[in-house]
Amino acid sequence: MNLKNFGYFIKEALISMSRNRVLSLATVTTMAICILFLGVAVLLTINAGNFMNQLESDIQMIAYLDDALTDNELQAIESVIKDTAGVQEVTFVPKEEALQRLQAKFSEEDYDLQQTLGKNPLPNSFEIKAVNPQEVAQVAQVIGEIPGIYKVNYGQGVVERLFQVTKWVRILSIVFMVILALGAIFLIATTIRLAIFSRRKEIYLMKLIGATDWFVRWPFFIEGILIGVIGALIAIGLLSGGYTSLINNAQTALFFIPLVSQQSILIQVYLALAAVGVSLGTIGTYISINRFLNV
């Protein structure tokens, strides 16, 4: 493509967009709606993933220790746990602290737990986090066999169910996103095909006169790219506006769901959506136009 023609192609694309205003508007709207939905799906997926990660990272094991262990023995056990495969973090919780925490839960009732109980019945313990929360059961079993530890709790039963839930949330949100993406491609390709179909006579003529395939394609591509960019910008504008106000207003009400709000992630999402818009415009045009070039 030489530069002389490039100006012509852009001019042709703009003329055709303004002459086929209704179709261009329809395509831009379709594109914007598709990208908007896709963006919502992406944000949902990211947030769902983030929320699930957070839920899982809250999982920890508590290893209860036998009474009457010496300080040296405690330290030895701690280093054995630290060396266990899959362990990320170990924190020692002395029995006094455990009692204080328990006391804290009863603080409103204003009575002295220790006095009531006479002595501290709670054991010393280690709080342990696994590198991979999914492996918590196996790690707990290994730690449970260390001498001096009489029991390991990690929320047996509940954790397994949580993992079921997080697995399905992840799968469903990705399936949702893929379905939307396929729908968007189909819808956009159809709309572009309609726009090109209305100009098949022009394309046929160009081919009979002796236009090369690329000479015919370029104006359509530029149009497709412009439509993709405009559609994506509209969608991104709506999406970022909506999401920002969601973060600002709903975060207090939905405090238990940690909304992803790092600008760097969001900007990546928006840039990706813009790229999706341009690619959908280009791919949609490419697929649709080739059938009419076969003259």
Binding site: Y8, L205, M206, K207, L208, I209, G210, A211, T212
Partner: protein
Amino acid sequence: MLVQFYNVTKVYSNGVKALNDVSLKIDQGEFIFLMGPSGAGKSTFIKMLFREEKPTQGQIFISSRSIVRMKRGEVPYLRRSMGVVFQDFKLLENKTVAENIAFAMKVVGASNREIAVRTAEVIGMVGLTGKENSFPGQLSGGEQQRVGIARAIANRPLLLIADEPSGNLDMDTATGIMDLLYDINRKGTTVVMATHARELVRDAGKRIITLEAGRVVSDLCTLE
């Protein structure tokens, strides 16, 4: 020799045999009428010339080049040596007369200056000076066909192909169009024109190729 057909047969995918063992030659500068009833293969013959269709069997040479073996990428350059005039004109309704012609020149990469000069020239040749900025919808059928012809000759083709150019026009208008085509032919362009209109052909004194059921049944300078 401009056009050579050697034993050309065309069978469409639906089984219709549109051309059956056609062999003929067309010299540079000839004016040829292609006659025959509907379905005789005229349109297929014409589509072969600019390679919209390829033969099922046989060979076609244009300016001594096989257009059967031609690569897809070379087809545009073949077509630039031809101009096509259609029965239904095929003008772009949203472009003016001048723009319709300029469009054809732009497609083949002419510069804006060349386009301006040549567009005015061909509009003059077909007698439409003053209507440069009219849209096709504002013109009569005969005038629209003149635009079609102007577009077809804008790139100075060696071969002008006209598929029923007067099919949609009344007799007087058709005669005017014929005069224009003869004029173009006199200036050296080979013309191949498919038509039903015996009254246009009868006294022209040109070569007449008659097709029937896909075969050449006569190739004479008079109408049988």
